[in-house]
């Protein structure tokens, strides 16, 4: 229990011995000790099924539920007409009804819902609801969506446009003229799904006092609370949203979904609690996965490695609804300007609607796709000018405490150290370009936000808050609005508060994700948890700590500044034998100040570029990442085996190193899976090619490469104890690092994802054929 100087805490110290073991809270999760939403069974609870449209685009002519309602065990049916108010996570683009009102826009769009005594009966009843459709023209390809505006999926019905963003910084055309080399190519990122092991689940209960309680597997209880109130026309005071532990989100549960409205409405009609659990198939229809993007990238550089300009034109396949699409479209350009970037940049991104499951935010929202294109383009330039791609990135790296060309404020920046770490660990200098044919190394880098600086709905209130209840038995309860979705945010709060107050980890509890019990936090998205919720917890803990130090100083008859906190006790900094244990200190403080408690909150500073859209991408701090991937390409089958990924990530400060490592490894493997296995594809007729975990192939444990997490700590001046995000940033470089490694291994460029064996084999054959014809020509 040594005393360490904490840079963000001028006085008081904090207990620094690790409070949590190797596995943190995760053993409870993997051991089956966590109760998820579907584990909740209420007396009299009904089960409901949503009836989904089998056509890609259709007008609902009529719905006849009489046969279903006449079935034994069936208690109620709702349709779009019962909830005719649009919702949407972005306040400017509400375009979804809980159930389609007049028009269903993709195969799988919800049209009606039926509640019955059990799931089987609900399913049978759902097939008895007769729905007459008028089939409408549809579009499933984004290029066709541009060419056929008459389909009218856009807001005014005269186009299929969802969002268009065009921004330019510097003088791009001149910079290209001054470039010695230009890499120009088309890149394609096929969409991917989150594939959480827990599918969406919600229970609605409208009780006899008129209070609505919704249990939901959501990442955003606060937004769900707001939208339930608006759509169902209920006072927010009458709604309570409880978020039980969530079995993975990855962004797929970060907005309201049809089932949340349906269970509440059905409960209001039947007077009984109602549960809906998505089938795996429905999970793929609800989707909000990574957008397919067609990207045309042009990157120019000087022969000495100075990057000159980037010109990016991107077509984004949005699927049927807006979701976060407005933000996605901005992110596809705005988040690219770190960590190594030229000073001239133009991007033009267009998101179109298509009659397919709606795309949304998946881990690394909007920026994983362009990052792939850009980092591969850099690799091509490095080859062209015969420069080590690591050096090319070093040479163009954005400095700490600087501003990017699009107006993003950079504070701490451990990018150079990230490159150092992966270069050393992978023995890059000795092995890159020198491995036998078929083996290769590739590098890529990225940067990501630690939360968005501006909330989704404009307001001046804090983005995150906690309340502490300090008990005279030496226990502290943290009430937090953050959503524990397996990422470990509860554990983070416990460690921060335990360390500040000198408590054992087990003496600190967290109550989170309940709109009745906890203050508002905006939710588990955009990698905001550690930074914002952590700062809120630190503020609350320090207020209590100040009181404890004051009473201990009185007790020991010394100045407050002489009192420091160690694990278990507050003691005199010059004579640790003079101390008061934490529980006694709490009791002294309670005697002096009355019942102990505190609040802490986090408000973002004013940031962002001074132009329309300049606030999107603004964040109080940015993380930095570099990966080196090693691959083994089977030139006979085209199979790419990812041997290892070295992941260096600047998370500012690793408050819970085990969790940071877990996030780094989890991100890298998820990216690797998108590189070689996962693709979310719909057929031209709008049918999903296979909405199951047999057809949508997520990696098994045998398919996961060796992963080595290298934590870099740059101590961010505004992060809690110096911390920044670690949940999404480390995904980005995986995919381009693997693409670049394939090039190092076998000399083919894979510009279209995923790198399936068939595609790699085709590329190898095309290369051999080209070499053959060159030989013939010579």
């Amino acid at each position: 229990m040594s005393e360490t100087a904490a840079p963000n805490d001028p006085g008081g110290g904090r207990a620094s011995a690790p409070a949590v073991g190797r596995h943190g809270d995760m053993l409870r999760r993997v051991g089956g000790g966590v109760r998820y939403t579907d584990d909740i069974h209420l007396p009299g609870m009904l089960h409901a099924k949503i009836v989904r449209c089998p056509h890609p685009h259709a007008r609902i002519v009529s719905i006849d539920a009489s046969e279903a309602l006449a079935m034994e065990g069936v208690h109620g049916v709702v349709t779009g007409k019962d909830m005719p108010i649009k919702f949407g996570i972005i306040p400017w683009t509400p375009d979804e009804y809980p159930l389609a009102l007049e028009i269903a826009r993709f195969v799988g769009d919800g049209v009606a819902a039926v509640a019955a005594t059990d799931e089987r009966t609900a399913l049978d009843a759902s097939r008895k609801i007769k729905i007459e459709y008028e089939i409408l023209p549809y579009v499933t390809d984004p290029h066709e969506a541009l060419a056929r505006p008459e389909i009218g999926l856009g807001k005014r019905g005269d186009s299929n446009l969802s969002k268009h963003v065009a921004l330019e910084f510097g003088d791009v055309d001149r910079a290209f003229q001054e470039s010695d080399v230009i890499s120009e190519a088309d890149y394609f990122f096929e969409g991917s799904a989150h594939a959480p092991i827990e599918t969406h689940c919600a229970i609605g209960h409208y009780d006899n006092e008129g209070l609505v309680t919704l249990w939901s597997a959501t990442q955003v209880p606060h937004y769900v609370h707001r939208e339930l109130s608006r759509v169902l026309q209920l006072s927010p005071a009458r709604i309570r949203v409880i978020q039980p532990p969530v079995g993975a989100g990855f962004g797929g549960k970060s907005e309201p979904f049809d089932l949340e409205f349906c269970v509440v409405k059905l409960s209001m009609i039947t007077g009984r609690p109602v549960k809906i659990l998505y089938s795996r198939e429905e999970e793929f229809y609800a989707h909000r996965g990574r957008h397919p993007m067609h990207m045309h990238f042009k990157v120019g550089a000087k022969r000495d490695g100075t990057l000159m300009a980037v010109d990016a034109k991107t077509l984004i396949d949005g699927g049927a609804y807006s979701s976060f699409g407005l933000v996605t479209t901005y992110y596809s350009g705005q988040l690219l300007t770190l960590p190594a970037f030229p000073s001239n940049y133009r991007f033009d991104s267009t998101r179109v609607f298509t009659n397919k499951p709606p795309c949304g935010p998946k881990r690394g929202h909007g920026s994983v796709q362009p990052r792939f294109a850009y980092e591969v383009a850099l690799d091509k330039i490095a080859v062209e000018i015969d420069m080590d791609p690591v050096l090319l990135r070093r040479k163009n790296a954005v400095e700490p405490n600087s501003t990017t060309l699009n107006g993003m404020r950079v504070t701490s920046n451990g990018f150079a150290e990230c490159l150092d770490a992966v270069v050393e660990a992978s023995e890059w200098d000795d092995r890159r370009g020198k491995l036998p044919y078929g083996r290769g190394l590739g590098v890529a880098a990225s940067s990501y936000i630690s939360g968005t600086n501006y909330p989704i709905y404009p307001n001046e209130m804090p983005q995150s808050a906690v309340q502490l209840k300090v008990d005279r038995s030496g226990r502290v309860t943290i009430f937090s609005g953050q959503s524990e979705i397996g990422q470990g945010c509860d554990q983070l709060l416990r460690v921060i508060v335990a360390d500040e107050l000198g408590l054992d980890y087990s003496s600190v509890r967290v109550v989170s994700g309940d709109t009745d019990l906890t203050p508002v936090d905006l939710g588990a998205y955009s990698s905001r948890g550690t930074f914002m919720n952590g700062n809120a917890a630190l503020m609350a803990a320090r207020e209590v700590k100040a009181k404890l130090r004051e009473v201990v100083a009185e007790k020991l008859s010394c100045p407050i500044k002489k009192i420091t906190v160690s694990r278990g006790a507050l003691c005199h900094i010059d004579d640790p034998s003079r101390s008061v244990d934490v529980t006694s200190a709490i009791q002294l403080a309670e005697a002096k100040f009355g019942t102990l408690g505190s609040v802490g909150y986090y408000k973002t500073p004013t940031l962002g570029g001074d132009y329309r859209g300049g606030t999107i991408g603004a964040s109080p701090a940015y993380s930095f990442t570099a990966h080196v991937a090693e691959v083994d390409v089977d030139t006979e089958t085209g199979e790419v085996r990812i041997v290892k990924i070295w992941i260096a990530h600047d998370c500012g400060k690793a408050i819970c190193p085990v969790i940071v490592e877990g996030q780094m490894e989890g991100s890298a493997y998820m990216g690797a899976a998108e590189a070689v296995l996962e693709e979310h594809v719909c057929r031209a007729d709008g049918m999903h090619v296979g909405p199951s975990l047999l057809d949508y192939r997520i990696p098994t444990s045998l398919d996961v490469p060796d992963l080595e997490a290298l934590i870099i700590e740059s101590n961010d001046p505004e992060g809690p104890l110096g911390a920044k995000e670690a949940g999404e940033g480390p995904l980005h470089p995986s995919i381009p690092a693997i693409a670049n490694a394939i090039y190092d291994a076998v000399g083919v460029r894979m510009d279209h994802l995923p790198f399936t064996p068939a595609k790699v084999l085709r590329a190898l054959r095309a290369k051999a054929a080209a070499a053959g014809s060159e030989d013939a020509a010579e």
Binding site: R120, T199, P691, S692, L694, R697, L702, T756, P757, A758
Partner: protein, 332 residues
């Protein structure tokens, strides 16, 4: 969640009881021997039995016996137990390898050899939910009149997807069946038909009781499977090879490639080419080429049919490389 349909479950404790139940229930019943294939298919409405007759408690169907001439495997023996059985590993390695690569560890602990033999054919257009199949317009195999693999096709081309089938075929296995009409034996080769809707010669009320595999000295065999992941996946292609050596020379040869269409494909031309020759790289190449010429994957399991076809050569080569003469033969 996708609920199972309502059905009645029977759990006879003897073979005789199971046979009489099947006689009584007729085609309203299906046998369940592990359920890793049947239960998902029931959830998807691909089969709709009113009764399931479980063979779990029929202990006489459990276990592996062997003497000098045969290995006899009870139909309810778990795949995991076959994959690591010393006699199977020694005398029928193709079967050990095949059963060891079915699904994932959980499937191999639930799944049985009898169940895998009787696995239903698979296709991307059939192994989907009822909603999906209805939205597509159904297909020949169930509820529909069209084939989505072979447009205007009148014959279902759903693919045999059992890994054990090609192994048992090349090993010359015999399959004992018991029904109310008595006992009969089918060779593994005759067990499968070319009809994707139902690709077995077995009548629905016939119970697979035992699988008998001959033991021959100087016999080697190998199995190869193509899949995108290290586990879980059904085969995108599989291949079994068996060689009986006479000294260093190939005396008998058999090759079966499956996960193509309803019936696992025996590549007869390969045998004609191989018999009487010594293994060599040139022969391997010729055999791979013959297999490539004779086997044409469809888009029934995956869109990359061309890649799957390319991989036939690779699978055959890999299997042949592991089917070199036994050390004893090489010495003579």
């Amino acid at each position: 969640m996708l609920p199972l349909p309502v059905f009645q479950h029977h759990s006879p404790s003897s073979l005789a009881e199971a046979v009489s139940l099947m006689a009584e229930l007729g085609d309203r019943a299906r046998l369940i021997a592990g359920g890793t294939d049947l239960l998902p298919n029931m959830k998807h409405g691909i089969v709709e039995p009113e009764h399931l007759v479980s063979l779990r408690a029929v202990t006489e169907l459990n276990g592996v016996q062997h003497d000098d001439a045969h290995i006899v495997i009870g139909a309810m023996t778990r795949l995991v137990d076959i994959a690591k059985h010393p006699a199977v590993l020694e005398h029928a390695p193709a079967l050990a390898e095949a059963t060891g690569q079915v699904g994932g560890p959980h499937h191999r602990r639930m799944g049985t050899l009898g169940g895998n033999l009787c696995l239903d054919t698979r296709c991307v257009y059939i192994n989907q939910t009822y909603f999906w199949r209805e939205a597509l317009g159904f297909c020949l195999k169930k509820d529909g009149t069209v084939c989505h693999v072979v447009k205007s096709g009148k014959k279902c081309v759903a693919a045999a997807s059992n890994d054990s089938a090609p192994a048992l075929m090349v090993l010359g296995a015999e399959i004992d069946l018991l029904s109310p009409r008595g006992k009969r034996t089918l060779s593994a080769n005759d067990f499968y038909t070319t009809d994707g809707i139902y690709n077995q010669s077995r009548k629905l009320d016939e119970i697979v009781t035992h699988i008998r595999i001959p033991i021959l000295a100087d016999r080697v065999s190998a199995f190869e499977k193509l899949r995108r992941r290290g586990a879980i996946d059904y085969p995108l292609l599989n291949c079994a090879i068996r060689i009986d050596y006479k000294g260093p020379q190939i005396d008998e040869f058999d090759m079966v490639v499956s996960a193509l269409a309803a019936r696992p494909k025996r590549v007869k031309a390969a045998a004609r080419l191989a018999i009487g020759k010594k293994p060599s790289d040139a022969l391997t190449k010729q055999l791979a080429e013959v297999a490539f010429k004779n086997c044409k994957p469809l888009t029934n399991l995956d869109n990359d049919a061309d890649w799957r076809r390319d991989m036939i050569r690779v699978l055959v080569r890999k299997a042949l490389e592991r089917a070199r003469p036994p050390v004893a033969s090489q010495a003579t």
